[in-house]
């Protein structure tokens, strides 16, 4: 997509905003619509846009598949471990009350951690899936086209 100067410029302009918006959605989910899942999807969407416009090889350099391999399970592990933290600190599984000094603080911390875990796994999975699709070329049958 070397010819598409316009596309490249506009995408460069757009992608930082998308990443910012993803962060906003991630951490503003307590007050407005949104949360970890949506943030993860938006983050992945920004990355997909990057890969579409600047090429999948560039995208792989920015976020190598080795790293993705660890990000995909990291979010889920964070979530489950937050659950176990509840048990270790004397509550039930996924009990956030015991995480902080007061129940409300604990709830806030718990929700923050959990939503972060969701965001990480979702964005990593979405990018992985995109890579898996886009990295595959097929034998082209002319009659299909």
């Amino acid at each position: 997509m070397r010819h598409h100067l316009v596309l490249r410029v506009v995408s460069k302009l757009l992608i930082p905003f998308m990443l910012l918006f993803a962060l906003y959605v991630q951490f503003h989910g307590d007050f407005g619509p949104g949360g970890g899942f949506q943030a993860g999807v938006i983050f992945a969407a920004a990355f997909i846009l990057y890969a579409l416009v600047f090429g999948i090889d560039h995208a792989r350099e920015v976020l190598p598949e080795r790293v993705l391999r660890y990000l995909v399970p990291a979010g889920l592990a964070l979530y489950t471990l937050t659950g176990f933290a509840g048990i270790v600190l004397g509550g039930k599984y996924l009990d956030y009350d015991v995480l902080g000094s007061t129940p409300t603080a604990g709830q806030h911390l718990g929700i923050l951690l959990v939503e972060f875990g969701v965001g990480v796994t979702v964005s990593a999975v979405m990018v992985t899936v995109f890579f898996a699709y886009a990295g595959r070329t097929r034998d082209v049958d002319e009659e299909d086209w």
Partner: protein, 97 residues
């Protein structure tokens, strides 16, 4: 006022959708869907004012940011036949139904 705007948008949405159904070429459909996205965005904004819940604006913002990707993917799809960057530019292709 909001009511009028909402009605205008709904009518416009119907027309755009009709174009998306009718085609005839694929690009007509894409164009219609793209324009449809803008109208949904506006409708959600108007709805936010109608019901006095400004939280809706986040969704409109999302559409403003993300709707673009679909169109780019389509473009990529047509020029390179896949979403990675490997194939040569597509030659003279027939796209009419």
């Amino acid at each position: 006022m909001w009511t009028a705007a909402a009605i205008a948008l709904l009518v416009a949405m119907m027309m755009a959708l009709a174009r998306a159904f009718l085609g005839p070429s694929l690009f007509d459909r894409i164009l219609a869907i793209n324009s449809f996205g803008t109208k949904i965005l506006l409708l959600i904004g108007v709805l936010g004012f109608l019901t006095e819940r400004p939280e809706f604006m986040d969704i409109a913002l999302l559409y403003a940011l993300v709707n673009f990707i679909g169109t780019i993917a389509v473009l990529k799809f047509f020029r390179y036949r896949n979403l990675g960057l490997s194939g040569p530019a597509a030659g003279n292709l027939e796209n009419r139904e």
